[in-house]
């Protein structure tokens, strides 16, 4: 095997220069198997890339290790260049070495040398793929079928590329499926979403793989091999016609996760009457047959014999050239917020539960009735920034959508309960989108009372939810005996996002949101070439921003595919 080239970038990072390349080269002097290149311009510059090309060509090198401060930025560019020069990018590596304040210290130098030496050894171990270059698969996978994933899939499908859309729930739609009406237009969420889900389901180029999760991913851009676990639905979807009889007759009634615990669901269920695909699954944790050994009502009523209690998880493998990750968000659990009663105070619900209360398809058929006794609440307190913007105890960041959806909730409430009073505790109002500020102002003029301050504590007393907040505009402590309280809890990455990112070898921040290659110029690229991210998986945002990112990621994939 020939020598491995080593290239050190001398660029500056946040005011600190990296190790002097010459010092590093000095440290590698003992190794006979490497050939270093010292270049005094940043290697990501045009002259830098050209210098590497000349260096590799001049010395007949096919393997090179790059050491620089931002591998996630330069890596994809560099691999693309290698491919253009006719070299195999999997035989080269881009390593990150970070300078520290005391970068001249010998410990840091040893550390950097160690990283580089390990990188060299790793590259030497790699074998060129057998035979000719593997073909570039022009087929994409989208993980997460919320509005982001749907948007990206439709774009790619319309572009003529084949798309596999994977979601771990039985049907697509994501959180938007739970929403009632959406800001800033207050149009019905289902009326906007359903045409999209239907289009996705019927698209000739899109294949839905729902109720499925990613098991493992290997390979690289142009040729990822993805292993998918299809969870047992206990219903043969080939036979099922989606008539819904089983759901109707199923005797088990349990609080449903989709209804945010304020409404019942069945053990055999679809997420909504308009679900795409409209096929049910059995939740074995609550199904009477699975838990108690008898029932089998669904089996008896099914006209097509689709129920199959013996079904098991199955595995499929698919090759794709690019992946878009759009796994969305969860809400911070109110059960983890002590000062608001750990979820034990009746009639304290979160924003998604309010969406269900206000939905025609929800547990109250869209009437605003409080969960404890079904009464129409006359004093409703909405609290923003719950577990957001709270670096000391919860999440330090702003969840971005809550100012708007809280205003929306209060307005929708007032539209339905004319003699009701809505109070909103807020810290700041962030309404930067088009038409958003006007939306808030209209809410205020309609009589929502905005109170500027946080709420310190909530508790049940005397049949009410007592709210202790502050109105910092008067400087006073405020006590409200409310009938119902709605918490705008922080948006957090969806469960399992970190584990999925690990399988994909892409980065996450300390909370589990996927990290983009660079927040300004590469907002939908991950650190791995061919893997893109979009929507709330990357950070909290509203539908408009989410859709824009879905579009962006899809266009990136199309550009990538067009090059091959």
């Amino acid at each position: 095997m020939g020598k491995v080239g080593v290239v050190m970038c001398p660029c500056e990072l946040e005011g600190m220069t990296l190790f002097d390349p010459e010092v590093l080269v000095e440290g590698l002097k003992g190794r006979k198997d490497v050939l270093p290149l010292i270049h005094h311009q940043p290697v990501c510059s045009e002259s830098g890339v050209e210098a590497i090309r000349a260096f590799m060509e001049g010395n007949g090198l096919d393997r090179v290790v790059m050491a620089c401060s931002k591998p996630e930025l330069f890596g994809p560019t560099f691999k693309k260049a290698l491919r253009q020069w006719g070299l195999n990018p999997s035989l080269s590596g881009v390593l990150g070495i970070r300078p520290t304040a005391e970068r001249k210290g010998s410990d840091d130098l040893q550390e950097a040398l160690h990283v580089i030496e390990e990188g060299i050894d790793e590259i030497k171990r790699r074998k060129p793929a057998k035979g000719e270059k593997t073909p570039f698969v022009k087929r994409a996978m989208v993980i997460g079928g919320g509005i982001t994933g749907i948007t990206a899939s439709i774009d790619l499908g319309n572009g003529g590329y084949e798309v596999l859309l994977v979601d771990r729930l039985p049907s697509i739609g994501g959180r938007m499926l739970q929403l009632s009406e959406t800001f800033p237009t207050l149009d019905c969420a289902q009326c906007t979403l359903t045409p999209k889900t239907v289009e996705t389901g019927q698209h000739p180029h899109i294949r839905l793989i729902t109720y499925a999760e990613i098991e493992s991913v290997s390979g690289e851009v142009g040729n990822f091999l993805v292993k998918i676990r299809r969870k047992a639905a206990y219903v043969d979807w080939e036979k099922c016609t989606g008539c819904g009889l089983c759901q109707e007759k199923c005797p088990s009634k349990v609080p449903s996760e989709f209804e945010r615990g304020i409404g019942p669901g069945k053990a055999i269920y679809t997420l909504s009457p308009q679900a795409v695909p409209n096929k049910p699954v059995i939740n074995p944790e609550v199904c009477r047959y699975f838990t108690e050994g008898k029932c089998r009502v669904c089996e008896k009523v099914c006209l097509t014999d689709a129920i199959d209690y013996a079904q098991e998880d199955t595995f499929i493998e698919e090759r794709v050239g690019a992946i878009i990750v759009a796994t969305g968000f969860d809400l911070y659990r109110k059960e983890d917020i002590g000062e608001y009663g750990y979820g034990d105070v009746p009639d304290v619900i979160d924003g998604l539960a309010f969406e269900r209360l206000n939905s025609a398809s929800g547990p109250t058929a869209g009437e605003i009735r409080r969960p404890s006794d079904g009464h129409i609440p006359k004093e409703v307190v909405f609290i923003q920034c719950v577990a957001s913007r709270d670096p000391e105890r919860y999440m330090p960041y702003c969840s971005r959508a809550c100012c708007m959806y809280t205003a929306k909730h209060a307005r929708l409430y007032k539209h339905k309960v004319h003699d009701g009073h809505a109070y909103i505790f807020y810290m700041d109002i962030r309404s930067m989108g088009k038409g958003y500020e006007e939306f808030i102002q209209q809410g205020m003029e309609e009589g929502i009372l905005y109170l500027r301050g946080r709420v310190s504590r909530l508790f049940r007393d005397n049949g009410h939810v007592v709210v202790w907040g502050a109105d910092t505009l008067t400087g006073k402590k405020v006590e409200i005996a409310a009938d119902m309280v709605v918490l705008a809890t922080a948006m957090i990455p969806s469960r399992g996002a970190k584990e999925l990112a690990e399988k994909l070898h892409i980065g996450t921040d300390e909370y589990g949101f996927l990290t983009e290659a660079q927040c300004k110029l590469y907002p939908v690229e991950s650190g791995v070439e061919g893997i893109y991210l979009a929507g709330c998986a990357q950070g909290p945002k509203d539908i408009a921003d989410t859709v824009a990112q879905g579009n962006a990621a899809a266009s990136k994939v199309q550009a990538l595919f067009a090059q091959h």
């Binding site: 002590g338 000062e339 750990y342 508790f459 007393d461």
Partner: protein
């Protein structure tokens, strides 16, 4: 089982009922409280000014002496517990302050005494199960609201006592002696503390809010661990009634008195006569005397 015991000033005088009952219960439950020798006042307030090292000297001295005489120090009074526990933590964590304090008190103490409140001894060392087994008098049906106050719970990271928003140790204790714990939202609020000296009406209002909430939730009595809470809740009921004519009054009983009662100790030893609102009529009515 032997624990060093720091009674603190008030338990020697105004809060004899807390102290006596605590000692008697220890005997009945088979653990020994060895009183720390030559103890002094803890200062009754953990100093909140970063530069007030002086006020750390008394609790530090108490801890250093405890180190000489044993390994686990316990208190009954929540205030003493708070001051001593926070000081201990500071000595463990802040090397600079530790050295200053040691120089000042002319002792060498590293923060390695374990500080436990009596309730924690009951839970962790004796075990509520054994208490349940030792119960001789049936308090079944006595509805008691446990008042935690501030000092046991906050700051939570330092006190490491219980969940600061929804603590349960006191309820678990009450259940172990077959009382019916009454949950009430004001159980973690402030009794007014030393404002009974600085702004007595303010403390009276704090006490009123707490007691009315306990009553509303069905309590027949309130129990405390702290002579300062006890004073504000018990001794100030006359003032409360002057300001709020809807206030019916409610007995406030130290947790050690309830424990003693349950363990079947002679009633005289529990010194109920020292409680301002006499709990005996209630206990009589419940057939407990």
């Amino acid at each position: 089982m032997e624990f060093l015991y720091f009674p603190g000033c008030t338990l020697y005088t105004k809060a004899k009922n807390l102290d006596e009952a605590g000692r008697e219960c220890a005997k009945a439950l088979g653990f020994e409280l060895k009183e720390l020798s030559n103890w002094t006042c803890c200062g009754a307030a953990f100093p909140l000014a970063k530069d007030n090292i002086m006020a750390l000297a008394p609790p530090a001295r108490i801890l250093a002496k405890a180190k000489e005489e044993g390994s686990t120090l316990t208190t009954l009074c929540s205030v003493c517990f708070n001051v001593i526990k926070r000081t201990n933590r500071l000595i463990q964590e802040d090397e600079e302050k530790r050295e200053k304090i040691n120089t000042f008190i002319e002792m060498d103490y590293q923060g390695d005494v374990r500080v436990l409140h009596y309730l924690e001894i009951l839970k962790r060392e004796v075990g509520f199960e054994s208490i349940r087994g030792a119960v001789k008098r049936d308090l079944q049906g006595l509805k008691v609201a446990p008042f935690y106050g501030c000092m046991l719970l906050r700051p939570a990271e330092e006190m490491e006592f219980d969940d600061k928003e929804a603590p349960t140790i006191f309820e678990e204790f009450l259940e172990s002696i077959a009382c019916e714990p009454v949950d009430f939202p004001y159980k973690i609020e402030c009794c007014g503390a030393f404002q009974s000296v600085g702004a007595p009406e303010v403390a009276t209002e704090c006490a009123y809010a707490i007691l009315i909430s306990a009553l509303r939730n069905g309590a027949e009595a309130v129990t405390t661990t702290c002579p300062l809470c006890q004073f504000n809740l018990d001794s100030k009921q006359k003032e409360i009634r002057e300001r709020h004519n809807d206030f019916p009054g409610i007995p406030i009983i130290y947790f050690t008195q309830l424990l003693g009662l349950a363990l079947g100790l002679p009633v005289e030893k529990l010194e109920f006569h020292r409680n301002d609102v006499d709990p005996r009529p209630l206990l009589e009515k419940k057939g407990l005397l």
